[in-house]
Structure formats: structure tokens, C-alpha cells
């Protein structure tokens, strides 16, 4: 099994120094990415899911942010210790990213061809002609009709769904081992969302790419992911495979989250469960369980110390005092 692990994130910490105090956006996050698998990271806004992935790519704006600790091992080599030249070899080549809003990620002044060819020439060492052929092939794979013509157009000539297809084509053009998709469908309509998720699934299977899918939508992770990490206030509170998370969630936050989503397949109109209170302000968070003010199982110890991450079974862990201290 361990040979399949491409990327290991170990105890990653990313802090931001703000006027209001120290913001621990990511505070000790660990997970593994295996070849060809899809990992989902769910959480509400401010839970640190996007920052985690920016840190993996060493894209944290500094100042005010810095990576305060941990390791990101790509085939055993720590990305965080690499020089800028080394990391440029990895970005867009070994690990690539797609974002929520494709319009802000494409340069509006440049044709799609210019933007795609640049990446391919840089990373794959092809000449321009071959790179253009490769780009057209990728656009075709991503389901863009008439790619030979469309490639010479500008981003504004594409619709939202089409732009996201262009982003995916661009991201996969260098055969990366890992594709990080940060809320790839949040700005899209449901029917277009279904198209894009289908595309990510199909291409990652065909090209053997591992996917990290960041989203706030429980429905999307349920359909897409093998493993799921639930994040709250900068930490992973529960990590398990999809069936376990949805079938028998362990952490009170996961349980509450799943119960509070209205479901299409339930026709009984019973009242929705809602988690009381507000998500915490992560600035100057004390060393207690950040969920305890909203938790119905809160005990005294929850207010005093952050619960250790306890393994429940293989590949499954939860950070909650309900499941004992330690193992």
C-alpha cells in the first residue's frame, strides 16, 4: 500500500500574523494522497481547507503568512524545503490546481492557445507546434467542441462551464500526478456541475491522476471521493472513507453537518437539525476543542485541552474526547 502514496502531508501548520492577533489557519493537518484516488476535504468557510492546499504548493503570501511547521513529502522529498526553481518544476507539472472562479485564473488579454502552449513548452520541452497539437488534444478530451477554432479565442468568449473545462484541460496538459481542485463547481449551475464532476472523474481515471477535491458541499464529496477529511477551525476533526463518514459519522461536528443538509431523497418534511451557534473566530484560538461551544456532547475536558487524534480503525481517525484520549 505504501508504494502507492504519492504525497504525504505531515503535521502541516500555516499561520498568519494579523493586526488582531495570530491566525492559525491550518494547525497540524496530516493526510496521504494515493495514486489514482480522490481525497475530499470538506469544511465551512474559514476552516482552512484552501490554505492547506495553497501551502502544499508553497503559495502562501508572505507576509503576513508563513508555514510554521510540518512536511509535505512528494515521493519522499519535502516540497517545503525546496528552492523556488525546484518548486517551479513541480507546480503545474507534477501537481496542478484548478480554482473556483475560472475567469480570475485565465488571463483575459491572452488567447487560450497562448496560455496553454506556455505551460506545455515550459514543462514538457515541446516546440510550439507540438505544444499546440497537445493543447488541442487536451481541449478535445475536456469536451470542448471544435477545439481547433476555440483555442484561438479569448476567455470571455467561453461560458462559465466551458472556462472550467479549459482550466481542467490546462491543468492536466502536463500529466500531473496530483490535481488539486479547489471548489471547482461552486460557481456553476447544477447541470453544469454534473458535467464538470463527470469530466474530472473520467479524466483522472484515464490519466491515473490523484485528485484532492476541496468543497463545502457534502453532496459533491459523497459522489466523488474515496476518502474524506472533515476540517473545522484549521484542523482535521475526522478522516475516513466516504461510506464511513456518511454511514456512521463519529465526530459530533460531522454528525451535525450531515443532519443539517436538506436531502432530495427524503420526502418527509421533518424539521432540519441545526448546529447551534456560529463557527469560531480562529484568531487567538485557545488550546481547547474549538467545537465545544456548539457541541451537545461537550465535557469538562473539552474546554481544557485539544483532543488528540485517535485512530479508530485502519485509515480512520477522529479528534474528539468522546473516543478516549489517545488510542
Amino acid at each position: 500500500m505504501t508504494d502507492d502514496v504519492i504525497l504525504q502531508v505531515k503535521d502541516l501548520k500555516t499561520y498568519f500574523k494579523l493586526d488582531e492577533g495570530l491566525l492559525k489557519a491550518v494547525d497540524g493537518v496530516s493526510f496521504d494522497i494515493k495514486k489514482g484516488r480522490t481525497l475530499g476535504i470538506v469544511g465551512e468557510s474559514g476552516s482552512g481547507k484552501s490554505v492547506t492546499n495553497l501551502a502544499i504548493m508553497k503559495l502562501i503570501p508572505s507576509p503576513p503568512g508563513w508555514i510554521a511547521g510540518g512536511e509535505v513529502l512528494l515521493h519522499g522529498k519535502d516540497i517545503l524545503k525546496m528552492s523556488d526553481t525546484e518548486i517551479r518544476e513541480i507546480r503545474g507539472n507534477k501537481i496542478s490546481m484548478i480554482f473556483q472562479d475560472p475567469m480570475t485564473c485565465l488571463n483575459p488579454f491572452l488567447r487560450i492557445s497562448t496560455q496553454m502552449i506556455e505551460t506545455i513548452v515550459l514543462h514538457q520541452g515541446l516546440d510550439k507546434k507540438a505544444a499546440k497539437d497537445k493543447a488541442i488534444e487536451m481541449l478535445k478530451l475536456a469536451g470542448i467542441p471544435a477545439p481547433e477554432k476555440r483555442i484561438d479565442q479569448y476567455p470571455h468568449q467561453f461560458s462559465g462551464g466551458m472556462r472550467q473545462r479549459v482550466m481542467i484541460a490546462m491543468a492536466l496538459s502536463c500529466n500531473p500526478e496530483i490535481l488539486i481542485a479547489d471548489e471547482p463547481t461552486t460557481a456553476l449551475d447544477v447541470t453544469i456541475q454534473a458535467q464538470i464532476l463527470e469530466l474530472i472523474n473520467e479524466l483522472s481515471e484515464r490519466l491515473g491522476t490523484a485528485v484532492i477535491l476541496i468543497t463545502h458541499s457534502l453532496g459533491v464529496v459523497a459522489g466523488m471521493c474515496d476518502e474524506i477529511c472533515v476540517m473545522y477551525a484549521g484542523r482535521i476533526v475526522e478522516k475516513a472513507n466516504a461510506d464511513q463518514i456518511f454511514g456512521e459519522p463519529k465526530h459530533p461536528y460531522t454528525m451535525g453537518l450531515i443532519k443539517s443538509v436538506p436531502r432530495l431523497d427524503k420526502t418527509t418534511k421533518e424539521r432540519l437539525y441545526s448546529i447551534p451557534g456560529q463557527p469560531p473566530n480562529v484568531i487567538n484560538l485557545p488550546d481547547c476543542c474549538p467545537f465545544f461551544p456548539r457541541c451537545e456532547y461537550a465535557k469538562d475536558i473539552c474546554k481544557q485541552k485539544y483532543p488528540p487524534v485517535s485512530g479508530i480503525s485502519t485509515g480512520r481517525s477522529v479528534a474528539c474526547w468522546l473516543y478516549g484520549g489517545g488510542n
Binding site: 465551512e44 468557510s45 461560458s159 462551464g161 466551458m162 449551475d189 447544477v190 447541470t191 453544469i192 456541475q193 454534473a194 458535467q195 463527470e198 463545502h216 458541499s217 457534502l218 453532496g219 459533491v220 464529496v221 459523497a222 459522489g223 466516504a242 461510506d243 456518511f246 454511514g247 451535525g256 453537518l257 450531515i258 443539517s260 443538509v261 436538506p262 436531502r263 432530495l264 431523497d265 420526502t267 418534511k269 424539521r271 432540519l272 437539525y273 441545526s274 448546529i275 447551534p276 456560529q278 463557527p279
Partner: protein
């Protein structure tokens, strides 16, 4: 009022926006047919959900009902009065029974007013215009009562919007909409900017307020599961027209229009076991631009069950079951 009486009736509502494109010499003029002949009625005490993809005209419909856009054509009957034909003064009086809640709780609250001022503003405006006879003390009492009712402490009334979280701001917006004791609240995507755990709180608040004040909602959203949870009846819009309108339970159990079927099958369900078994209908292409006058079925170019007559004439809404209307040639001629 009888329980089944219609509070709001919308008849053949049209909202066309003119546009110009091209250069000076080859200028093209035309219309965006954002809402193109919409008919529906909302009964007293119910929630009508309006669902559709972006650009289908659901927000424009809502704004045309509130007369924020002057409709190009059609009637909007509220309590037996046609809002489209009312004079400005009479419209302001009629609007008292119809209030709005907006999507973005950051943009829809004035950052330079305290939450108390925001909630009392409708009362103060109506007092100034002489429509409402209310003393300052009564306004203060009403504001405090409303704040507590929507789940905010009355001690927050001197705070500014930036001091509140997204969910709390949406509560302020709801309190403001309730201030004039309206019958109808038009909600434009009120939960789509909120996090999952907060979304559930606000949805429950909407339901509780409805029971307590006998409110009627027109609830616009793009999230099908939210619409299913909140609505008594649901209307599905596509490209400025209603494709299907039915009782909520019926629509989700037995969707008839091919577009409704595709929309429902595309919506993800948070359960991996069900997700693996589901057969998705994946629509090809994007929603076409509504800049042409339609002469055929709005959905015909993306429909998998297309027939010859679909590209020849427009199907109209027909009743095909109890309280279930659909605009599709599969079910009627």
C-alpha cells in the same frame, strides 16, 4: 380570507431588457427576453419555490413582481390590486404588505447604519410618508421585539453590520423584512451565501416565522434540496419561462418535464451508497442566451426526448394531474 385564496397572481409577466451591441456602424439592437410570459399564483400561507439555473430569470421575476423593474407586460395582482398599473403613491402603500430578503447579507445592509436603524428604517419611512401612525417608543419596542424573534440579542441594536457574522446579518435582513408586518415575503436566494450549518438555522427560522405570522413566501433558490425542504409548491424555470409547476412532493417524486428530470438527477445527494447507484442524466451544452424571441420549445435544443413539433411551436402549461402543470408536448398537444 379563505384559506385557499390567492394572495398573489402573476399573469403573463414579461420583462424584456433592451441591449445594443456591435460597433457604431454595424450596431445591433435587440432584447434580452429575461422573463417571457410567466403565469402563477401563490395561495395565502404557502411557500412557492422558484428554482432554475443562473440566467433563467428567477430573480428578475421576483424583482418585476416587487416593481423594482417596471415589467414590459403582464399583471401582478396583490390582494386584488394590479401593482403594474398603480401610481407611485399607491404602489408605496401596496408594497407595505410585500417585503424582500436578499441573497448577499453583506451588500444588502447599509454599513453606516446600526442594526437597529436598519430594522427600523421601513417603519420610519412609512411614518414619514404618513402611511403608518407609530410613535418613536413603539418603533423602538418593535425593533427590540423583532431582534429577539429572529434570534439576535436586543443589546446588539447599536452595532454595525460589520460586527455581525453572515448568518446574523441575514437575520437582520429578515427582521427588516418583518418590520411592516407584511403578508408576502419575496426571498431572493436568502441562504445560498451561508455555510451549511448556518443555512439550516436560517431555513428553520423562515419556517418558524411562517407559522407564527401566517406569512406567504416566494422563495427563489438554485439549490433543489433547499427548495424541496422549504416549499409547498415548486415552479421550475428555464430561459424565462416556467416549465413545470406542481406540489413539492409530487414534483420530486414524479418529475415530468425532461428538464426537471435532468435537474433533479444532477443534484448531488450526500450519501455515497445512493450516489453510486444513481443514473445521471447529463445535459449537453449550456443554457442558450435569451436574446432571441422564441418560437419553439425553450428546451428543445438540449432535450433528449425531442420530437418534430418541439421545434415548431411553444408548448404551454397544461394541467396533467392534481395541481401539476407541465409545459411539454410529451404530455399534451
Amino acid at each position: 380570507m379563505a384559506p385557499n385564496e390567492n394572495l398573489l397572481e402573476v399573469r403573463d409577466l414579461k420583462m424584456h431588457f433592451p441591449f445594443r451591441s456591435g460597433s457604431l456602424l454595424s450596431e445591433k439592437k435587440g432584447f434580452i427576453y429575461a422573463v417571457d410570459g410567466v403565469n402563477f399564483a401563490i395561495r395565502k400561507g404557502e411557500t412557492l419555490g422558484l428554482v432554475g439555473e443562473s440566467g433563467c430569470g428567477k430573480s428578475t421575476t421576483l424583482r418585476a413582481i416587487a416593481q423594482l423593474h417596471k415589467p414590459t407586460g403582464g399583471e401582478v395582482m396583490l390582494n386584488g390590486q394590479d401593482l403594474v398599473k398603480l401610481s407611485r403613491d399607491n404602489l408605496i402603500k401596496a408594497r407595505k404588505s410585500m417585503q424582500l430578503v436578499f441573497q448577499d447579507p453583506y451588500a444588502s445592509l447599509n454599513p453606516r447604519m446600526t442594526s437597529g436603524e436598519i430594522i427600523s428604517e421601513p417603519l420610519r419611512i412609512y411614518k414619514k410618508r404618513g402611511v403608518l401612525d407609530i410613535s418613536q417608543q413603539e418603533i423602538n419596542d418593535r425593533v427590540e421585539l423583532l431582534m429577539e424573534r429572529v434570534g439576535l440579542s436586543r443589546y446588539f441594536k447599536n452595532r454595525y453590520p460589520h460586527e455581525f457574522s453572515g448568518g446574523q446579518r441575514q437575520r437582520i435582513g429578515i427582521a427588516r423584512a418583518l418590520a411592516l408586518k407584511p403578508d408576502l415575503i419575496l426571498c431572493d436566494e436568502p441562504v445560498s451565501a451561508l455555510d451549511v450549518s448556518i443555512q439550516a438555522q436560517i431555513l428553520n427560522l423562515f419556517k418558524d416565522l411562517q407559522d407564527e405570522f401566517q406569512l406567504t413566501y416566494l422563495f427563489v433558490a438554485h439549490d433543489l434540496s433547499v427548495i424541496e425542504y422549504i416549499s409547498t409548491r415548486v415552479a421550475v424555470m428555464y430561459l424565462g419561462a416556467i416549465m413545470e409547476i406542481s406540489a413539492s412532493i409530487d414534483l420530486y417524486k414524479n418529475p415530468l418535464h425532461p428538464y426537471t428530470q435532468a435537474l433533479l438527477s444532477a443534484a448531488p445527494i450526500p450519501d455515497p451508497v445512493i450516489e453510486r447507484k444513481r443514473q445521471r442524466i447529463i445535459l449537453t451544452g449550456d443554457v442558450p442566451s435569451p436574446d432571441k424571441k422564441r418560437t419553439c420549445c425553450y428546451f428543445h435544443d438540449r432535450c433528449s426526448k425531442r420530437m418534430d413539433k418541439c421545434s415548431a411551436s411553444i408548448p404551454t402549461l397544461h394541467e396533467v394531474g392534481t395541481d401539476h402543470n407541465v409545459a411539454c408536448f410529451l404530455y399534451h398537444d
